[in-house]
């Protein structure tokens, strides 16, 4: 197990190294001069060539690319992650300030997706082609097609229209004011949770349908077990593995989707910072945030792999 863990960690690290290289190269082929983005075209024209060179050197943009890459890696190792072009803030502080809200949204949305998706999947599988099954399947097909950010905008509009309610727009952490914080995260979490829930419901239904036909489920019923026990003790544990895998893959949907959904709700999370940084062409902030999102994505999927051994005792890692 320890050996497997080590191998998996090394594999993940090398993947992330590749990710960092791609992010770095992609962001350095920017055609526009970052100074134009910073000062505007007129402001840029007013700068003397010497000033331009001075500012570029100050920002560390006139060094050769390998030097810039190594400096980035050093900034990561030191934990500061570099400074924003525009505001001069440390990127690490930005993440610590904005990150917790986005993390809350992500975690709550995964919980919601399981709380909604799994029961729907179970009902659908045990009563196939019933009314509730058909309603559930129609809903899940529908939710796969509705863009989360649009649903979010509609919710914001509806809340404003019917209840004259507007969610707070400032950064409030859970430990400062739980109630305000909850109002901030509940909308995005719900929208993302419903989107994932549609996938979870679909997957758990089809996995359960396969398991239900197994002999041991028939045996469990034949010995007179209650239906609820058959589901909870015998069918579900064996159908769960692919659903957990899917939930890990859906992390990509949550991370990417949260950027748009935060924008729709006007929640000041990390996704908003990414959008602002992209529009301002703040390369240092963008490269760190893109890397961070990928780190989380890779980490979650490694964790999912490791959870197999716990969910299915037949699996051993060596």
């Amino acid at each position: 197990m320890r050996k497997y863990l080590l191998r998996r960690a090394l594999f993940g690290l090398s993947t992330l190294l590749g990710v960092s290289l791609i992010v770095f190269v992609v962001l350095r082929i920017l055609p526009g001069d970052p100074l134009v983005a910073m000062f505007g075209i007129e402001g840029f024209a007013k700068l003397a060539p010497a000033d331009r060179a001075h500012i570029m050197a100050d920002l560390g943009l006139s060094d050769p690319l390998p030097v810039q890459y190594v400096r980035w890696m050093r900034d990561i190792a030191s934990g500061s992650l570099g400074r924003s072009f525009f505001r001069g803030d440390k990127v690490s502080e930005l993440i610590l300030h904005r990150g917790p809200i986005s993390a809350e949204i992500g975690v709550i949305s995964v919980l919601i997706s399981w709380l909604i998706g799994l029961p729907i999947g179970i009902v659908s599988a045990f009563r196939p082609n019933s009314l509730s099954d058909n309603v559930a399947r129609t809903m899940s097909v529908l939710f796969l097609a509705i863009p989360g950010f649009w649903l979010g905008m509609l919710i914001v509009l509806a809340a404003l229209f019917w209840f004259n309610y507007k969610a707070p727009l400032v950064v409030v952490q859970l430990w400062q004011d739980p109630w305000t914080n909850l109002q901030l995260v509940v909308g995005p979490a719900l929208v993302l949770g419903l989107g994932q829930g549609a996938y979870i419901a679909r997957m758990s239904r089809s996995c359960l349908l396969e398991v239900i036909r197994e002999d041991y489920v028939r045996t469990a019923r034949a010995k007179g077990l209650q239906e609820a026990l058959v589901v909870m003790r015998h069918a579900l544990p064996n159908a769960l593995l692919p659903v957990v895998t899917l939930s890990g893959i859906l992390m990509g949907f949550v991370l990417g989707g949260s950027v748009a959904v935060e924008q729709a709700f006007g929640v000041p999370g990390l996704g908003r910072s990414l959008v602002v940084a992209v529009i301002e062409r703040d390369t240092i902030v963008v490269q760190n945030l893109v890397l961070l999102y990928s780190v989380i994505f890779v980490f979650v999927n490694v964790a999912v792999d490791l959870s197999y051994a716990w969910l299915d005792p037949r699996i051993h890692y060596r």
């Binding site: 055609p31 097909v141 796969l144 863009p147 950010f149 905008m153 949907f253 989707g257 950027v259 999102y293």
Partner: protein
């Protein structure tokens, strides 16, 4: 990997058994088998027609501002209302279909094709090339789709080609993975071995014998990803890194609606509805195409595998 069970063998058998049927009869059979998918295909087709004939059916110019009719709710003159500068929302939604569809079709075609060709090569050639390809795919898949698309779109500038490339890159790993697994199975079939034994060159075996077997899964993949591509395009537009205004796209119309203090409901509702209907249509159609072309996923085939029990 799903058990390949010789996709090749299945295809060959089907081709030999079935007499050639006309397109109309083929369509009729498809509709009978998958009424929902056919409905999705019909709606998708109508949306394509709407995009093509936009200048003929749009009630007014999507770019023409009318300062006497600013931010009007839907009424008899403009069915979907007008925006902050008096442009007709219905016309903008109709024209918006153009950018969405062009981007979706082009990016899926580009991404899936590049991914598939790469997948054929890496599945067939194997060895070190395959190993390196798999690692690169792994890295590409470690980005959340939308975030990778945002970064690429930011790097190569806004505009339609940039958006197409950005979305296409996120589709490459899917084509690569799926087609590679098909190529791995097909490579072992005896007719490929026969071709090799007859002295065909590597590229010839790859393009003439392995590649044709990948067409069905390729079509399945391409149709399955159209919906996702439309959602990513809309999201990029919404986040301000898609096709820039004044060109109307469903995404930048939604972004536009946020500029007023209290968003007008019709400016939010209609563009989003257009996205949802389009994605729904393409998804339903894609499911039908998958059931038809991929015998491994078709109900009849599943029944055969499970020994006659209902799938």
């Amino acid at each position: 990997m799903k058990n390949g069970l010789g996709v090749g063998a299945m295809e060959v058998a089907r081709g030999a058994d079935l007499p050639q049927r006309s397109v109309a009869r083929e369509l009729a059979a498809f509709t009978r088998r998958n009424p929902l998918a056919a409905a999705g295909g019909l709606v998708g087709f109508l949306i394509v027609v709407m995009a093509l004939t936009a200048p003929l059916i749009a009630p007014s110019d999507p770019l023409k501002a009318d300062f006497r009719r600013m931010a009007k709710p839907p009424d008899a003159t403009s069915f979907f209302g007008t925006d902050q500068v008096g442009r007709d929302t219905l016309s903008r939604v109709i024209y918006g279909a153009r950018s969405s569809l062009v981007v979706a079709f082009a990016s899926v075609l580009l991404g899936t094709t590049v991914g598939s060709l790469w997948g054929v090569a890496s599945g067939y050639l194997g060895g070190r090339f395959d190993l390196v390809s798999q690692r690169i795919t792994e890295v590409l898949q470690s980005f959340p789709d939308l975030i990778l698309a945002m970064a690429i779109s930011m790097a190569i500038g806004t505009g339609m080609p940039a958006v197409i490339i950005a979305i296409a890159v996120t589709r490459i790993p899917f084509g690569n993975r799926v087609i590679r697994s098909v190529a791995l199975t097909v490579r072992e079939l005896s007719y490929v071995e026969a071709a090799r034994a007859a002295g065909s060159s590597q590229p010839r075996v790859m393009f003439h014998h392995v590649l044709p077997q990948c067409v069905a899964p390729y079509l399945v993949l391409a149709t399955a990803h159209l919906g996702v591509a439309i959602i990513i395009e809309a999201a990029l537009g919404f986040l301000g890194v898609g096709i820039p205004p004044p060109t109307p796209t469903w995404g930048n119309m939604l972004a536009d609606s946020l500029t007023s203090l209290v968003p007008r409901w019709w400016l939010v509702f209609f563009p989003g509805l257009a996205i949802t209907v389009t994605v729904l249509a393409f998804n339903l159609f894609g499911d039908g195409v998958r059931d038809t072309l991929d015998p491994r996923l078709a109900p009849a085939f599943l029944r055969m595998l499970t020994g006659g029990r209902r799938a």
